[in-house]
Each structure stands twice: as C-alpha cells, then as structure tokens.
C-alpha cells in the first residue's frame, strides 16, 4: 500500500531535530507501550509484518500527527480488536468484560530474557537457486500493491545492481495474507540492491550518493 509511512524522498518535513542528552523514554507510558508491544508480539496471534501493516494502515493524518509510541499503541489496539482479543468497550473501561482468547504464549518474567536473546529470525532454508547474482543489474518492479509491501516507492521502476545475497527469508507481502496463525510463510531469496543517486533522483541530484534497499526476489526483474 502506498501509505504515508513510505517516506523516502519526501521533502516537507524540515530539518532533523536533535535532542541533547535524549532520555530513552520521554514519559513512563512510552516504556510500557514499548514493552507491551514486544510482549504481545510473543503471543503468536500476529507476526512482525502484520504488526507493521497495522501501523501503516492507520489513517494518514493519525499516523503523521502521532508520536512513535502512540503509533505503536494504536497499532497494538487495532491488532487486538481485529482478532477479538479485546473489545472497544474493554479498551474504554480498562477492565475485562469478556473472557480472554487463547494465545500461544505469554512472555513471563522467567521467559523474557531467553525470548529477547533469541529474537525471531526470518531466514529459512531455500531449495531453489537464486535468480540473480552479485554484480547483476536488476530493475525494481513498478508495482503498487493494495496490501503490505517492503519495496519503497522511490526505487520502483529503477535499475540497480545486486550487492549481496542473504539466503531465503520470509516474504512480507505474503506473510500478511492470513491474519491468524498458521500464517502464509513463503520463502524467497533476499538481496541487497544498490542504486545510483542520479538514477533515483534525476536532474540536479548528488552524483556521489548511492542508496541500497533489501529486496525479495519477486520485487526484482532482470534487465538485458
């Protein structure tokens, strides 16, 4: 989806504002929001791509006017509501009204360290050979899917060069197709592709700039 989250190349946001001696959190609720989002991710009722899709599909004005952890909370509430894990009435009351849904896992004090240390790797074995090799020219597809994608708009339709291969990785567009487990796990080769600045940005752009993206194989096509 061509959402406002796809920000690469936009020009209206002003200078990067730096905060001296920035605290890790700017309010107590931010730390709770971060940790609850991490903990609920372990419930197995959605995956990282579904959680990104939930944030990215917030109304554009809401997304742009919310702080980072506000977006996380709005995304988390949306994921919970969509699955019937909480109701709107419960969110408003801050109290349980209906019985809980079944979840795969609850991150407890005893399991949290191991879970954070393990993470959620997305690399998977892949049997078929890679279509592209290092040094090869490829074009990022010009595509505008309705659903979730990780191919940013600013590279679409442009020709770049394969820098490296990362093995097989779970394909995010497919990973969001089913809202509940078992998720659609499609494994594709993942590449890093480099684009020249002038290829992306055209007239008057800085020739000393290059930009890379990490792209799944089906985002790319050969050029001849």
């Amino acid at each position: 989806m061509n959402g406002v989250h796809d920000m690469g190349g936009q020009q209206s946001f002003g200078p990067v504002l730096l905060e001296k001696a920035e605290p890790l959190f700017h309010a107590n609720w931010e730390s709770r929001a971060m940790a609850m989002t991490v903990a609920m991710g372990a419930s197995g009722q959605w995956n990282i791509d579904l959680s990104r899709a939930a944030r990215e599909s917030l109304p554009p004005a809401t997304y742009l006017s919310s702080t980072y952890y506000e977006i996380w909370i709005r995304g988390l509430e949306k994921l919970l509501l969509e699955r019937g894990m909480v109701t709107q009435a419960e969110l408003e009351a801050g109290q349980l009204i209906t019985p809980p849904a079944k979840v795969n896992k609850v991150l407890t004090l005893d399991t949290v360290d191991a879970a954070l240390k393990a993470g959620t790797p997305t690399e998977r074995p892949i049997a078929q050979p890679a279509l592209f090799k290092v040094g090869q020219k490829v074009r990022a597809l010009n595509m505008h899917p309705q659903g979730h994608t990780r191919l940013p708009r600013y590279v679409r339709g442009h020709v770049g060069t394969i820098v490296s291969l990362h093995g097989g990785h779970v394909m995010p567009d497919q990973h969001t197709l089913r809202a509940l487990p078992p998720f659609n796990v499609t494994v594709e080769w993942l590449y890093t592709v480099v684009f020249d600045g002038p290829t992306l940005w055209g007239v008057g752009s800085d020739p000393s700039v290059e930009v890379t993206v990490d792209a799944w194989e089906s985002y790319l096509e050969a050029t001849d």
């Binding site: 200078p15 890790l24 990215e56 894990m85 909480v86 940013p152």
Partner: protein, 201 residues
C-alpha cells in the same frame, strides 16, 4: 542513558491522555492473562540498563584492535557480534559496513524504524522522525550537515535503507593517534551516531 522517566514534555494533554490509555490497556491485558507485568518490567529494564550503544562500541573497538575479528565482522557480522554475547530481537541478521576514505555509510529505515537493537539499543527520536526517514535517502549530505558533519566531495555516501530484517552497523574509521589505546579506551570513543553513520569519530 537515563533510566527515569521525564514528564516535562510540551503537550501535557496528549501525554496524560496517553498515560491513561496505556495504563488501561496494561490493566486489561493483565486481566486477560496475555501479559505478565513483571515480564513487562523486565523488558524495560533490559533496554534501559543492559542493551545499548555500549554493546556496539565493544564490537567496533574489537574490530579496530583485532584484524581477524574485523575480517569476520565484515564477512559474517551476525556470528562475529554473537561471539560477544549480543544476539536476538531486531539483530537476528546483522551486516557491518566499513567507513573508508572512499565511502561513508549511513543507515536509515524509510518505511518504519528498523534498527539493530542488540548493539545500539532502542533508536533515538530523530532516527524515527519523518525528517530523517524522508531525507536520508534523497539528500544525505544535507542531513549530515544537520548533524554538523561535512565530508569531502570525493567521498561517496552509501545510504543503507533497512527494508527487510537485515540490520546494519556502521564500522567507523579509527581515529588517528589511538594506536596505544586499550579496547576499553577505544570503546569509550565510539558514539551511537557514529555507528548509525551520522557522526564521525
């Protein structure tokens, strides 16, 4: 890194509204049995006190001091970084990129806020801001100027947009005159922003 919260933000009405909203959510999720509040505390404690840029600084210092480790880091960053005990969430697949006279590297996530948590901790606000996410790929030299960094025109700037689950760590150039420093002293020179590529050392 401070561990206490700051409630001095500019918009008190938004903050208090969010405070109420997040407290309500935590109560509800606890009553549902979906979360363990002690687990929530532990996650916060981990990123407030244990995981942060001091981890990445150790990686950089070791790479500066030990050529064999540096070669391993550039070849297989996930394994090399794991050998120091830094693994897991948002660092499952690591790549290290080396700054040289010819090429300066800079990391962004234009689509969200992907960032290598095990080595840098949680990202600062500017990294997640619309201004950085939008401009880093279009005009990195001007963005670097916002950080007070000016590079020679002959230095190529490569911006790494973290669009998948690969996370990038910039290996900054080792400053001159540091030949006699220990790894601990070297690590003390390494800043978070240098490992993102928005500062030099």
């Amino acid at each position: 890194m401070t561990s206490h919260s700051h409630d001095h933000d500019h918009d008190h009405s938004t903050l208090s509204e969010m405070d109420v909203r997040v407290r309500a959510l935590e109560t509800l999720l606890t009553q549902k049995g979906y979360i363990d509040p002690a687990g929530i505390d532990r996650i916060i404690e981990t990123y407030e006190n244990e995981v942060g840029p001091h981890n990445g600084a150790q990686v950089v210092a070791k790479a500066w001091a030990e050529p064999v480790f540096k070669a391993w880091l550039l070849q297989d960053a996930t394994a090399a970084i794991a050998s120091l005990g830094f693994t897991g969430r948002q660092g499952e697949h690591m790549v290290a990129v080396e700054n040289t006279t010819d090429q300066h590297n800079m990391v962004v996530c234009t689509l969200c806020s992907c960032y290598p948590w095990p080595v840098l901790g949680l990202p600062p606000v500017w990294y997640k801001s619309a201004a950085y996410r939008s401009r880093a790929v279009l005009e990195p030299r001007q963005v670097l100027a916002d950080f007070g960094v000016a590079l020679p025109e002959s230095t190529r700037i490569r911006v790494w947009d973290s669009t998948a689950e690969v996370r990038y760590l910039v290996l900054p150039k080792r400053p001159t005159g540091t030949d006699n420093l220990s790894q601990t002293d070297l690590a003390a020179l390494v800043t978070r922003d240098a490992m993102i590529g928005t500062a030099l050392i």
